[in-house]
């Protein structure tokens, strides 16, 4: 059955009338309040996965709020987007049907002030205590500007963490400032002895107002904002944003540009994975092993700089193509680099896998069960290491990708994540070789003539699926929605640490490689 028909059956009376095919192949269906709940129950039973939920104000000239529920079905290229008008200032929650909706609904409440009735958790999410009551930055009535109030700790009300009570249960609060060179976030452990009984994470300390910042700006000026979502996802996010704008504007991005972008995307994946592998090994006190990965990573940073002028490949991707062409000398430089890299990388992996004291720590630590992948919408290497064969490059192909195979392992532990990343580095290297071998001639960019419209765009970053939704009105960005892979995968850590000991937390955290900046926006 075609996906359209299947959706029609699941939505029942809501029917197919008014189904709009989006420019990225997404299906937009407007749903009415009547029968909404029943339709969502059927979607939940029909094994559709909620991959995003966001809000826009005044969308399509309509007044009030439009909620967008984005669903994916495994094996289906198209995604389903339900459009629901929120009547007034309250609407109903779906967090009991789709647990991932909890964070999204709290996010929408902070942004727009919309209340979700029946939600089991209505605490603030990205607006911490310093923000006054009734402040909702994503409302169109709020013009982005600085606030006068300084932080006054005495004015703050306490954020209630889940309390675990019982004999010998005690709490360990950690953060937001941690002991290493890492990003800020708060972890509240409830432990019995050394064993973790419960973990609650509180994020969004780094909330910088990314989505609001893009509003009213020319899309070309927003590439910089996309690059700043998460430093080590610079290329993934700039490609994701540019792809959305290009689809809206029906720009025919040259094949040569897509090949070069793919090289950058895969270089980014390689250096990011090398960093995780180094970190995992370092966190079990094997610096001789981790140094090898750090050395290889630094060499990639230098290669990035020689190709694009930036170690993080900033400014490399533009709306319409890439910032500069890939000259023949650079093609050769990349190929030579990868050839030299391959053997040393295998030696480094071998040194880790043959060191029993390291393997002993990596195996059976931080297990994420396969059953959690869909309900929590886990993505990227985290999901693949738990046996889910999903990869945006294969499931929703974009650009120059073809025939990408999702690398999976079954164990779901730290070791599995280590090995999935190693396998993906090999694949990335092969993809880059292929892109350079098949590099077509022609232009590396087209003139970016911007049109109005909206589109969804998905890119597989090193951490998993990143999704951007861009709406352009009168030539400027009207709404920029970002959902990074880490936003999803943070949900996994609360499960992965259960039954593990506190000293293994840094290791498990590193193996999940979560971006705080990408989540907090």
């Amino acid at each position: 059955m075609a996906f359209e028909d299947e959706v029609g059956v699941l939505l029942g009376a809501q029917g197919l009338e008014g189904m709009i095919h989006g420019v990225s192949g997404e299906l937009y269906v407007r749903v009415e309040e009547e029968g909404f709940r029943e339709a969502l129950e059927r979607l939940s039973g029909g094994r559709l996965i909620l991959i995003d939920l966001f809000c826009a104000e005044g969308f399509g000239g309509r007044g009030g709020f439009t909620l967008f529920y984005v669903f994916e079905k495994r094996g289906e290229r198209k995604v389903l987007v339900l459009e629901r008008q929120a009547s007034g200032e309250a609407t109903s929650s779906i967090a009991d049907l789709f647990p991932t909706a909890c964070w999204y609904e709290r996010q929408i409440h902070d942004g727009f002030g919309l209340v979700f009735e029946g939600a089991f958790d209505m605490r603030r999410l990205f607006l911490h205590e310093v923000y006054p009551e009734g402040f909702h930055p994503l409302l169109k009535s709020f013009k982005n500007k600085k606030f006068g109030y300084g932080a006054d700790a005495t004015q703050m009300e306490e954020y209630r963490f889940k309390e675990v009570k019982g004999d010998e249960v005690y709490q360990i609060p950690v953060g937001p400032v941690h002991a290493g060179i890492i990003e800020p976030g708060h972890f509240r452990f409830s432990v019995i002895g050394e064993t973790i009984f419960n973990l609650e994470v509180r994020m969004f300390y780094k909330h910088r107002g990314v989505e609001k910042l893009a509003e009213g700006k020319n899309p070309m000026d927003c590439v910089k904002i996309a690059e700043s979502i998460s430093g080590d996802e610079t290329v993934a996010n700039s490609v994701c944003f540019c792809n959305a704008v290009e689809r809206i504007s029906s720009l025919d991005v040259p094949s040569r540009a897509w090949h070069i972008r793919t090289v950058y995307l895969e270089l980014e994946r390689i250096y990011s994975h090398l960093s995780d592998m180094a970190g995992m090994v370092l966190d079990v006190a094997y610096p001789a092993g981790s140094s090898q990965f750090y050395i290889l990573r630094e060499e990639f940073f230098r290669l990035n700089e020689s190709l694009t002028g930036s170690r993080f490949m900033r400014g490399a991707v533009t709306v319409g193509g890439v910032g500069k062409d890939m000259e023949h000398a650079n093609v050769k430089a990349v190929e030579d680099h990868l050839r030299g890299f391959s053997k040393r990388f295998e030696d480094a992996v071998e040194s880790v896998e043959s060191t029993t004291s390291v393997v002993d720590r990596l195996e059976r630590s931080g297990v994420i069960r396969r059953e959690l992948v869909e309900p929590l919408n886990l993505t990227g290497p985290v999901a693949r290491a738990s046996g889910a064969a999903i990869d945006t490059r294969a499931d929703h192909p974009y650009g120059a990708y073809k025939a990408v195979t999702a690398r999976t392992m079954e164990a779901g532990d730290v070791m599995a994540r280590f090995q999935v990343k190693a396998a993906e580095i090999r694949d990335s290297s092969a993809i880059i070789h292929m892109m350079l071998r098949e590099l077509p001639g022609g232009d590396f960019a087209v003139e970016p003539n911007i049109r109005d419209g909206y589109a969804l765009s998905m890119v597989e970053s090193a951490r998993g699926q990143n999704m951007h939704w861009v709406s352009i009105r009168d030539g400027v960005v009207d709404r920029y929605r970002v959902r990074a892979a880490s936003f999803c995968n943070w949900q996994a850590i609360e499960h992965a640490v259960l039954g593990n000991i506190v000293p293994d937390f840094p290791l498990i955290n590193k193996s999940l490689n979560l971006s705080y900046a990408g989540t907090d926006l």
């Binding site: 930055p137 937001p176 890492i182 300390y205 909330h207 107002g209 700043s228 750090y294 630094e298």
Partner: protein
Amino acid sequence: MTNAILNILKPVVTEDVRFTDEEFESLGFKLKERVDKVFARSLQIRELDSGSDNSAEIELVNLTAPHYDVERFGVSFVASPRHADVLLVTGAVTLNMEVAVRKTYDAMPSPKFVVAVGDDACFGGVFKDSYAVAGGVDKVLPVDLKIPGNPPTPKEILRGLLALMERIGKQ
């Protein structure tokens, strides 16, 4: 026991990786000279992320990785602000982090110095007009030195530390 003695006599067994960067090395040894004088051989740095995009952290970690290895020059990153001479702050200061930033600074013993690393930390960068940030680090703490860049490279950060040492040395 015999083995231990023999090990001393053995040649170095680590891999010979050649990646010396002459400029970085000479900067590093100049820095070491200064650190020896100004901070009695040991400069302890606490890194604080006040809202960066994580790229500056990556470059700071790189400073401790094999290519750069700043511990050779008497510079080390410490786990607690109570052990730190210098606070390296990355990122524009978000409103959600402002209290933690002040508390971290307050926890440091005097004399203490603050360095802003990266455009965001120097003046707010791309986020300077956002409702969610207070601005650059100097809006919240007294900043002694700014190292601009998006993000600055390890070499630029090292050059900044050298400038800081020279400035403190003159005081």
